[in-house]
């Protein structure tokens, strides 16, 4: 079990930048640009890992600790997801949600800690978003957990595999997709590609980081994104649903990149929302989750 977890954690961590690169590549193609190669995030990470850091004058130990804790939390999530085997009974839903919560909390603190006013704005917005995303996230998954009677992810995935594409799961999938967009900082909610002050959430809190610390933080953001997509695929398009290709691994990867393409598609076809429209957007997620609860 420990070995499987380790393999899975390393695998997800190593694949995460590829998904980010793939989404950016799809987006560029959809916008008639050639775009950077899907491997570009790896190159960026290598470049940043080799560089020296410049630390803000006001930064305290919080700024120092944050990259490591965020990266650790991301790897923990990657290890806990029931991908390779769904049997080990420790991957609780609430654990996953609050591992995300932990890294978000520390990022917001680090943003304030750096003394940069943009980073402070970013922290405030990040917390505002967290207040909206967390209930939507929990509601979307609890809507499906209600039918299973447990919040343990392995059992939930088994149940989802048996009941995929029934009405509650379809509704909850809609709810969860909105949460994925918000949690990954994708366009209707946040723009991951710019440092423009109007669009900043997560990028703003990272603004004072450089070198190795920035590399770790960016990497943890990518891992978090892949983890969300994997969770989405597992719960709503389960692994064993369709044995078209003999190797389930390839089929799983295909689905993950399909969701990546879907994210790129929503990102090119919608405009960034105003900050105060976000409650409405996430209310839609809450509504779908509520209906999923009723439909069960």
């Amino acid at each position: 079990m420990a070995l499987e977890m380790l393999v899975q954690a390393v695998g997800i961590t190593l694949l995460a930048p590829l998904l980010q690169g793939f989404i950016q590549w799809c987006k560029a193609r959809l916008q008639n640009r050639r775009g950077p190669s899907p491997l570009q995030p790896y190159r960026n990470l290598f470049k940043l890992l080799a560089k020296d850091m410049v630390v803000a004058g006001t930064a305290s130990w919080i700024s120092f600790v944050t990259p490591f804790v965020c990266f650790g939390a991301a790897i923990a999530v990657a290890a806990l997801l029931p991908v390779v085997s769904s049997g080990w009974g420790v991957s609780d839903l609430f654990l996953i949600v609050y591992l995300f919560g932990l890294s978000r909390f520390l990022l917001a603190l680090a943003g304030l800690d750096s003394g940069n006013s943009f980073a402070g704005m970013g922290s405030s917005r990040e917390m505002y978003l967290a207040v909206l995303v967390e209930p939507a996230f929990l509601l979307a998954i609890v809507a499906t957990a209600g039918a299973v009677g447990t919040t343990e992810l392995g059992r939930m995935v088994q149940h989802a595999t048996a009941h995929s594409f029934t009405l509650p799961y379809v509704l909850a999938a809609g709810a969860f997709f909105i949460v994925v967009i918000a949690e990954c900082g994708r366009i209707p909610v946040d723009n991951p590609d710019t440092h423009l002050e109007l669009t900043m959430f997560q990028e703003a809190t990272l603004i004072e980081y450089s070198g190795r610390q920035l590399a770790l933080l960016l990497w943890s953001v990518y891992v978090r994104q892949l983890a969300m997509v994997v969770l989405f695929v597992e719960l709503f398009f389960p692994w064993h649903w369709f044995d078209l290709i003999p190797s389930l691994f390839v089929w799983g990867m295909l689905k993950i990149f399909l969701v990546g393409f879907l994210l790129a598609l929503t990102e090119t076809s919608t405009a960034k929302m105003r900050l105060f429209r976000l409650p409405n957007f996430l209310a839609a997620s809450g509504l779908l989750a509520l209906l999923a609860l009723v439909a069960r």
Binding site: L171, N280, A283, V294, A295
Partner: protein, 207 residues
């Protein structure tokens, strides 16, 4: 049946967020069609002719004549929208979610054993219609709330019995139709005398 309950609730929740009159009426048409399908569905089991007649009447009256009348009124009102509802869209949705919970609680306490989800869905459809009537200032949206309540009651009856006798349903349809026509005329008069259909202006006597 589950799909239809969800459709009913989905449209009800959509209406809590809408401020455009025409859009609200269009959503109402979808909801009424859903009710008609539910009626046919329950008729499939029992092979009673009159459920089909009731379904047909639902389509003709609730998805045809009433929306037509409301569209006429809305077209004359031109650009009226719900500007300052008493509860904002988010608050109304939240209140509607609470009503859904209340409906479930009520069904569990008072009527255990019957088809729980359908019953609770119908009851909360009724309650949300009432909520819309209370919290909206626009006369047309209040009429929409009335029809939603009617749809809820209809589904409630449908899920508790296997369809009411035809003569009672005819009476109910006639009632609702007359009510809507009267309300439509009143709304139009309201527009003529006050230049708006905001019902909060109806506080002063006008001689």
């Amino acid at each position: 049946m589950n799909v239809l309950t969800v459709l009913l609730l989905f449209t009800a929740f959509l209406i809590t967020r809408v401020s455009n009159l025409r859009l609200a009426i269009q959503i109402l048409i979808v909801q009424s069609l859903g009710v008609a399908v539910a009626c046919v569905w329950s008729g499939l089991g029992s092979e009673l002719m009159h459920t089909y007649i009731a379904a047909m009447l639902t389509v003709v009256i609730k998805a045809g004549m009433i929306p037509y009348a409301l569209f006429r009124v809305a077209a004359r009102l031109r650009n009226e929208t719900e500007n300052k509802p008493i509860l904002s869209p988010n608050q109304t949705s939240l209140a509607a979610a609470l009503l859904l919970a209340v409906a479930y609680g009520l069904v569990d306490q008072a009527l255990p054993g019957l088809g729980r989800d359908a019953l609770a869905g119908a009851l909360s459809g009724f309650l949300i219609g009432l909520l819309i009537m209370i919290t909206r200032r626009q006369a047309v949206l209040q009429i929409v709330g009335l029809i939603m309540m009617e749809n809820g009651i209809y589904l409630l009856g449908l899920s508790m019995t296997r369809g009411l006798p035809l003569i009672i349903e005819l009476g109910v349809f006639f009632d609702v139709m007359v009510a809507v026509i009267v309300l439509g005329i009143l709304t139009f008069r309201l527009k003529l005398s006050f230049m708006t259909t905001d019902t909060t202006v109806l506080q002063k006597l006008k001689g």
